[in-house]
Symmetry: C2
Subunit: 421 residues, 2 copies
C-alpha cells in the first residue's frame, strides 16, 4: 500500500467527523451526535494509505506525482463503518421467503426446515473456501455501497468446529480485501435445535467454544442473542462472565422482541454495545444514556420483519451514544446496505441525517474499538473515504436504495472511481 501514488481531493465539502479538530476516544452523544466537523471548500491529501493533510480554501501545491481530484463542491466523508453484520453465510432462504409471502407461518417454516437452523446446516456442511467465496462476494457489495470497515459475526455454527470454521473464513477474507474486517464470536446466536438436548449446546459454547475462539482470536468480542426461545438472561450472564475472564469485550442482541432485563445487565457488565433495542423500556433508555455502553440501531430488521423500530430519537434526546448498522443476514435483514439503514434510522427512528452519519461512521468505529483508526478524517488515520455525487450529505438519508457513492477509497486507493463509463 505504501507505494501507491499520493491523491489529493480538492474543492470538496469535507465532513471530517472531528468537529474540534481531533476525535475523542469516546463516542459522541446528545448534541455532539449531529456535529460533522464540516470543512467547506476543503481538501484532503492521502499518502501511503493514510490521511496526510487536511486544509480549507485553495489547495496548496502538491508533489508533482500527486493525483488531484476536483470534487467540484461535492461531499467527501469517511467511509462507512458497519459494526453489526452476519454477512458470513451460505445457502439462501429464498424458498422460505416465498413461503412467507404465500402466508406460511413462522412455525410452518421452521417445521419445513427453514429459519436460522437452515443456515446453520448449510454452514456446517460447507468448506472454509466456500464460506470465503461467499463472504468475498458480499463484502464487495458492501464496498460498492461505501462500507470501509465491517464487523462480521460467527454464529451459524453453534458448535466448536463450525464456529471456529466461520472465524477462520472471516480472518482469511480480512487478509484479502481492502476493507477492515472485524470478526465477532457469536456462538450464542441460537439454541441448537439439532441436538437432542439444546442445553448441551449452551455448555459447549461457554466451556469449549468461547475459550477456543478467544485463544485463536485474542481480544475478539463475544456476542449473544438474548431472547425468548434463544439464549436466556441467565445463560448470557454465565457466558459474559467467562468472556470477560478471557479478555473479550461484550456485545449483546437485546430487546428485539421482548425486554428480558438483558440491557440493564449488559450495562452493568460494561458491555461495549447493546444491539437491536426495538422493545427497550424507557427505564433502560435512561440507563443506557447514563452509561458508557453504545446502543446499536438495526432498522433493516424492522423493515424486513414487522415494522418495529428502536426508539432512536428518545435515545439521542436522553443523551445516549448510538450507532447504526446493517445487520446484513439471510433471514431478517437481507441487505448489504448501511445507507439503507441510515435512511430508515431517519425515517423510522427519527434521527436527523447528520446524526445518522455520525452513527454510521465515528460512533460505529467506537463500537469496534477502532475509533483511533477509522470513522473520521484526521491526519494519520486510514484513508477510507467516500466521494458522494452531491454537495448535500443529507441526500444519504433522503435517497433510498441508490447504487452507492461515485467514489470509494479504501486505504488510499480508489476501489470505485466515478461511473464505469
Amino acid at each position: 500500500m505504501s507505494q501507491s501514488k499520493p491523491i489529493a481531493i480538492v474543492d470538496a465539502r469535507v465532513l471530517t467527523l472531528a468537529p474540534d479538530g481531533h476525535t475523542p476516544g469516546k463516542p459522541r452523544r446528545g448534541g455532539m451526535l449531529a456535529e460533522l466537523g464540516v470543512v467547506d471548500r476543503g481538501w484532503v491529501l492521502v499518502r501511503g494509505g493514510r490521511i496526510d493533510a487536511i486544509g480549507h480554501g485553495a489547495a496548496p501545491g502538491f508533489d508533482p506525482d500527486t493525483e488531484v481530484v476536483d470534487a467540484a463542491g461535492r461531499v467527501v466523508m469517511p467511509a462507512f463503518v458497519d459494526c453489526h453484520t452476519h454477512a458470513c453465510f451460505v445457502g439462501d432462504r429464498n424458498d422460505e421467503f416465498e413461503a412467507r409471502l404465500a402466508g406460511a407461518s413462522y412455525l410452518e417454516i421452521l417445521a419445513a426446515g427453514g429459519g436460522i437452523m437452515s443456515t446453520v446446516r448449510s454452514i456446517r456442511n460447507a468448506s472454509v473456501s466456500t464460506l470465503v467465496e461467499a463472504l468475498l462476494l458480499r463484502l464487495e457489495q458492501t464496498a460498492r455501497l461505501g462500507t470501509g470497515t465491517i464487523e462480521v459475526k460467527s454464529g451459524y455454527g453453534l458448535d466448536t468446529a463450525s464456529e471456529l470454521k466461520m472465524l477462520d473464513a472471516i480472518s482469511i477474507v480480512a487478509a484479502r480485501v481492502p476493507q477492515t474486517v472485524v470478526p465477532t464470536f457469536l456462538g450464542a446466536h441460537a439454541l441448537d435445535a439439532d441436538r437432542a438436548d439444546p442445553a448441551d449446546g449452551i455448555e459447549e459454547i461457554i466451556d469449549r467454544t468461547l475459550p477456543a475462539a478467544a485463544e485463536a482470536h485474542p481480544g475478539i468480542a463475544c456476542d449473544a442473542y438474548c431472547e425468548e426461545n434463544a439464549w436466556s438472561l441467565e445463560d448470557c450472564h454465565r457466558l459474559f462472565k467467562a468472556a470477560s475472564a478471557c479478555g473479550c469485550p461484550i456485545r449483546v442482541h437485546t430487546d428485539q422482541f421482548n425486554s428480558l432485563g438483558m440491557t440493564r445487565l449488559a450495562i452493568e457488565m460494561g458491555a461495549r454495545s447493546v444491539d437491536h433495542l426495538e422493545a427497550t423500556t424507557s427505564q433502560d433508555v435512561e440507563r443506557l444514556a447514563r452509561s458508557e455502553t453504545i446502543g446499536v440501531l438495526l432498522p433493516n430488521s424492522g423493515f424486513c420483519l414487522d415494522d418495529r423500530y428502536a426508539p432512536g430519537r428518545a435515545l439521542v434526546d436522553a443523551g445516549a451514544a448510538i450507532a447504526v448498522a446493517s445487520n446484513f443476514n439471510p433471514g431478517s435483514a437481507q441487505s448489504p446496505s448501511l445507507p439503507f439503514a441510515m435512511a430508515l434510522a431517519c425515517r423510522k427512528c427519527l434521527l436527523t441525517p447528520a446524526e445518522s452519519i455520525v452513527a454510521a461512521t465515528f460512533n460505529a468505529a467506537c463500537v469496534l474499538g477502532l475509533q483511533h483508526e477509522v470513522g473520521s478524517i484526521e491526519v494519520g488515520k486510514r484513508a477510507d473515504l467516500l466521494l458522494l455525487d452531491t454537495a448535500d450529505e443529507r441526500a444519504l438519508a433522503v435517497e433510498i436504495a441508490g447504487p452507492g457513492p461515485i467514489g470509494v477509497m479504501l486505504e488510499g486507493r480508489w476501489h470505485r472511481t466515478g461511473w464505469d463509463r
Copy 2:
C-alpha cells in the same frame, strides 16, 4: 452501435420472458404473469446491438471476434423497464425532509414553500442545460441499478413554456444515453398554486400546452394526477378527450389517496395504464381485470409516505395485467431503484418474485408501447441485458438496496461489467 464486437454470454440461466418462444403483443396476466421463459444452461449471442441468437445447452462455435462471457450458471435477464418516473427535476427538498422528520405538518411545509411547488419553481428558473445535467446524473444511477428503458414525465412546469422545456431536456438526454428514454406529457400534474386563479392553469394545459407537446413529440402519452386538491375527474375527462384527439395515449395517476371514479373512467376511455391504485375499490379491481388497461404499482411511494400499498395480489388473482415502477421523484419516492420497488411489490403487495420480474420488464414495456423492442430476450430485440451475481433470480425480490447487477448491457455494449476491480 453496429460496429461493436459480438458478445456471447454462455452457461447462463437465461430468463427470456418469452415462455412460448415469442412474446405476444399484449401484457401478461393471471398465471402467465409468473412465467419467465427460463432456458437453463443457455446462451445468448448479441451482435450489432441486437439479440442475434439464443440457445440452450453447450454453446456452439462463435465467430472468432466474439467476446465470450462465462456466466457460470448465473442469471441473465432483460434489463429493467421503468415505466413511471419523474426523474427530471432540479432542486432538492432536503430541508423539507428534515422538517417533516422534526414533526412539521404537510400544511406547514407548504406554507414554508415546500411540496411540489418548490420543485416547480426550481424547474421554471432552470435552463435546459441544467435540467439535462441533472437528468443525466439520475439516469446513470438507474442504469447502474439495471434499468435499460426509462419513462420520464414532464409535470414540474405547469405552464406551456416550462413543460416544453422539460420535454426538450428529456429528448436531449434521450439522444445522449445508452438507455431508451420515453417522455410523457404530465402538464396536469398539479394545480398551479402560483397563479391568481389556478383554473387558468387548467385551461392553458388543455388548450395550449397539450397541443404544443403533441406537435413537438408526436404520439407522446398524456398523463394526469387525479386527486382531491389536484386535477378533478371532470378536468381529467376534458384533458383526455383532447389528448385522444391529438393521437396521445392516455395514462393517469389514480386512487393514490382517494377513489374518485378515475380508474373506471380511464378504463372506459381506453387508457394504456392506471398508476398508483393504493385506494382502488374491489369493484375497480374487477373492472381493471376485465380491461386492456395495465395497473401500475408504485410501492416506493407507499414506503416513503404512509405505508399504504396497492392491492397487487388481488389484482393478479383477479386476472389484471400489472406493472411495477419506481416513481422516482424528489418528494414522495426518493429512489432511483426499480429493484427496490420490486422487492416492495413482493413484501407489501404480495406478488411472487417471478411476477415482480415480469411486471418490471415485459409488462412495463407494454405500458410504454415498446413490447416489440425491449422487455424480453428474443432474436431481433434490443440487447439490453442484465447479468446477476446469483443463479436464483428470486434474490431480486429478497435482497434490499444492493449495488445493482454485476453486468449491465445496453444496446449490445457493457455499461457495467463485473466489479470495478
